[in-house]
């Protein structure tokens, strides 16, 4: 008989899926815009531009909600890796993904009500949610209002550094998303963690 604990409140699950949907939409339309070419069969450019703008603003709203809800509920504390031994726990988690997982070893740090995330997860999520995603959003806002960008930087159009940051931080989010979705299959069953994100109940 498996053990179940209730980990994720409805607001967090609602935000997660909203965020996930918007990120996927933004990734596909963003790629359609950046790699635009007559031979690229993704979303047509003008449609991609419109969808990307709308989804980008929606992501900003969703992110604002995420930050506020984290402050109000105290959930922000989950993203803080707690010393001592943070690096050692990260290493143990990495070794699990690189070795133990293939040999049926148990997760070294299964989630608890007090600590939803293992140390590696907490650090990566913190970097993504509090550094990379705000960078994508802020640079996206400048893209929406290009007058906010400096006119010129080192003899080039001032929007260039903004655009490069937007592109590279967006690419980082996409790479994170790929790994995040894959690691979602590492529960007791490949579907367990996806179910958890829907029901809020974690199964061990």
């Amino acid at each position: 008989m498996s053990h179940r604990i209730y980990l994720l409140p409805p607001w967090l699950r609602l935000w997660h899926w909203t965020n996930a949907t918007l990120m996927i939409v933004l990734a596909v339309t963003g790629a359609s815009l950046h790699f635009a070419d007559p031979g690229l069969y993704l979303v047509p450019f003008s449609l991609a531009a419109k969808i990307h703008d709308i989804a980008g603003v929606a992501l900003l709203v969703a992110y604002g909600f995420f930050v506020l809800a984290n402050i109000v509920t105290g959930n922000w504390w989950q993203y803080v890796p707690k010393p001592p031994g943070v690096l050692a726990r990260c290493w143990k988690q990495t070794v699990f993904y690189g070795w133990g997982i293939f040999h049926g070893a148990p997760h070294p740090y299964p989630p608890t009500k007090e600590a939803n995330f293992n140390a590696l997860q907490a650090i990566v999520y913190w970097v993504i949610m509090y550094l990379v995603v705000p960078t994508v959003i802020l640079t996206g806002v400048v893209f929406l209002f290009p007058d906010l960008a400096p006119a010129r930087v080192f003899g080039l159009d001032g929007l260039l550094p903004v655009a490069m940051l937007h592109y590279l931080s967006g690419a980082a989010v996409i790479l994170f998303m790929l790994a995040h979705i894959y690691l979602g299959t590492t529960g007791v069953r490949p579907t367990s963690l996806f179910k958890m994100m829907i029901t809020g109940w974690h199964e061990e």
Binding site: I101, G155, D157, L160, A163, M164
Partner: protein
Amino acid sequence: MRPRTKSLFAALAFTASVAIPGAGIAADVKGAAPTDPALIEKIRKSNAECYACHTEAGLKNPPRADMDMAALAKFIHDPKQFDGSNHTGMECKVCHGQGYVAFPHAPEAKKSISECGECHATKALRVETQFEDSIHAKNLADKFTCQTCHDPHVYKVAAKVGDPRKIVEQDNAMCVDCHNSDLRYSAFSTALPTKKVRPDLYATHDWLPNARLHWSAVRCIECHTPVSPVKSLATSHEILAKDKSDKACVTCHSQDSALASRLYRYASTNVGADLGFANASVLGSAYVVGATRHPLIDRAVIGLFGLTVVGLLGHGALRIVMAFFRRRRAS
């Protein structure tokens, strides 16, 4: 007379006119302002006679009392603008012929104004062929001339303007002068079989993301003229109607951007080229999504994406295989 025949005739007329003594004084080198100080002074003096009346100053203090001020007000020019135009250094009388030498000007003087093709014969031959296929020629025929768009007292060709932002400002002003003015538009649309109401520019461009930004950054003709397959050719004078205009954003928003060979063909490449950016000449004054990208960075990002996907799929496959062996061992 067919326009092409007219051009050939004009070329001959120009050849004849330069041999006629007393004709206006033009530059000694085609397309360049004169350099001979005596000639410059002669032209300055000759033009000063025209400017005595045909300027704001002349309008305020006319040199004669018997002038039709209402008529004069329609023909006011700015010498500074003229000096910045293509025709700088030319004597007014090169185009405004003998009928304008004395005052009052001859009643039929207007007929003696030279046609553009008299000097620009070669260009006129090419332009006329394109113009004949344009929506302007189809709808307005002879009512639409070079000067409807190109004011010879002001206009400067893109090659001489150089700065793409200034080219856009100058060239788009020509279009919106009519297409954003009910008064000017209706003056032309009366020639149509059924009078046309000026379409609202925002409504006709509602499909275009960031229309206002486009209007300040690129010329109307980027989309409203066909892209020549020969990139060295200048922009076309075949202005297209909205249903035939280019709606493919990727014409400009792609690595093989038409902007580089059209609007930015005279812009100098700069630090962006040294850094390895595609369409670096564009990057000097604009960031264009899809065009001003860095091929090496793109390859690195695509490579990382591919490695991540392959790595994760490999990890997953190994998990499945190992789980299979574990189950077999257990059973």
